[in-house]
Amino acid sequence: MEGLNTTVQIAGGFVLKNPVMVASGTFGYGLEFAGLMDISLLGAVVVKGLSLRPREGNPPPRIIETPAGLINAIGLQNIGVERFLKDKLPEIKRLGATVVANIFGESIDEYSEVARLLSGAEGVSAIEINISCPNVKKGGLRFGQDPASAREVVEAVRKSTELPIITKLSPDAPDLKAMVEAVESAGTDAISLINTIPAMAIDVERRRPVLSTMTGGLSGPAIKPIALRLVWQVAGFAKVPVIGMGGIMTGRDALEFIIAGACAIQVGTLNLVEPDGALRVIREMEAYMHKKGIRSIGELTGSLVLPER
């Protein structure tokens, strides 16, 4: 829309043309959608979580629908960072997309090695560190639940790349404030949240867990009210920019996160249901700005008016 400024600067050279990214694991490597939409119109494409070596993922069943939600236990199946760099990245770049690489590792060394390989390549705009995946544990605790080990991960990645770093937080960290402080002090450029919420479904006919892994992660509109609360809380104490997500389906949903304090947002499950839904979200946000006479998206970030009490 004319005259609207929707660009968002997350860090140094990491600037989005608009605040709507597509979330890791819900947009493949971007190419699958190329026939259906112009992916260069997105704020950024966050690709499926990458590990050092290809990963098989979990046995099926891996997904189950719930009321207004989806539980997944994909187990981070991916082609590995090297094949990504060789087979996928050049093609996504050719299509004009801004690319964020989501990474994870089974050890701190693996995280930093993946980050190193990505920074050597042309065309990755930022790295999003997934410290909240259920399969990655250290001393029994997932990195995403323990501030000290989260700090170690981010420090290691920080040392191995010059790229802007986004650290993606888990919604079930016992102490989010300590977590944010830890990753900030380790040098993260931004924080994103929420990853999926641990959840479960049982097949009562067979009296077995539906998912092969017993529990999985809940996403989709069902979790939006929880995600929004967490993003609002974190934006209240974070010093770095916050990227919000969790159940965003419409421009209004996205605006709730922005008004709560997020500088940008990601849509995840929506992509699975409506492949070009992220573009609709952008249009709806622009229409709102237009109607309200808001010229720059930055005016909206954190603009929540608190009730008098």
Binding site: G28, P60, Q77
Partner: protein, 252 residues
């Protein structure tokens, strides 16, 4: 991979019960190119519950639209059955790879229950190619036989088995048959597919099976519809739904 031609809202031309619990919906949309065995993802509700689209094989396409045959098994299909002429429905497709039909040999089609759906287009296509084919169709109850009427109408030789009546399964028919160098194409319940695959394996025959898993995206991006193959997990939606039975590691 065929390109996806639609993610749009289309009109319902008709939606009728062909037998209790079995419906045929005709959508006012004709994809340019469809392979037999490809499917579409339908949004059964405009609300957020059910959230996910549901996969359905394409039964038939003609100039007036696309036909889907479905059985009401749960919430999504129940909502689908309420749609009336003139209502609108969100379609994503055609998706998947469908059946590769051999130029160099004849085929046998083995279907169980709703597994009949892709075979109407398979049979039409084979007819166009000048090939003969045979259908073995098994159902639980007599009233489900109606689903095979169109295929039989094409002149396809059919062996019909009603489990409750004949105390027999379609695989019993296949077992008594000479397969020769014909390729077997199968779609139906998992147990039936495994049995078909093992019969083919034993006789050294080619066997292609169309499998079902729960799906979220239908486009190969969520990795939710994984099936174990000899080459690791592959996606039923994007790499299938038709696989060579050997790839699935189903051995006798």
């Amino acid at each position: 991979m065929t390109t996806i031609s639609i993610t749009e809202t289309v009109e319902v031309i008709s939606n009728i019960a062909i037998s209790p619990g079995y419906h045929r919906i005709t959508l006012g949309w004709t994809p340019l190119e469809v392979r037999p065995g490809q499917f579409v993802m339908l949004k059964t509700s405009p609300t957020m519950d059910p959230l996910l689209r549901r996969p359905f094989a394409i039964y038939n396409i003609h100039d007036d639209g696309t036909e889907i045959l479905y059985r009401v098994v749960g919430r999504g299909t129940a909502l689908l059955s309420r749609l009336k002429r003139g209502d609108r429905l969100d379609v994503l497709g055609p998706l998947g790879k469908g059946f590769e039909l051999p130029e160099d040999r004849e085929t046998i089609m083995v279907a169980g229950g709703m597994g009949i759906v892709p075979f109407y287009m398979v049979a039409k296509e084979l007819l166009k190619m000048g090939k003969t084919t045979q259908l073995i169709y098994g159902v639980r109850r007599e009233e489900e036989l109606i689903l095979a009427d169109d295929i039989i109408g094409l002149g396809t030789e059919a062996h019909l088995v009603v489990e409750e009546r004949d105390n027999m399964l379609p695989t019993d028919i296949l077992e008594e048959m000479t397969i020769g160098d014909r390729r077997v194409l199968a779609c139906g319940p998992g147990g039936m597919l495994k049995k078909v695959a093992s019969l083919c394996e034993a006789r050294g025959a080619e066997c292609m099976v169309s499998v079902e898993t729960s799906m979220a995206c239908g486009m190969g991006v969520c990795m939710g519809c994984a099936v174990k193959t000899t080459d690791g997990y592959r996606m039923v939606c994007a790499d299938g739904p038709v696989f060579d039975a050997k790839e699935l590691g189903w051995k006798g």
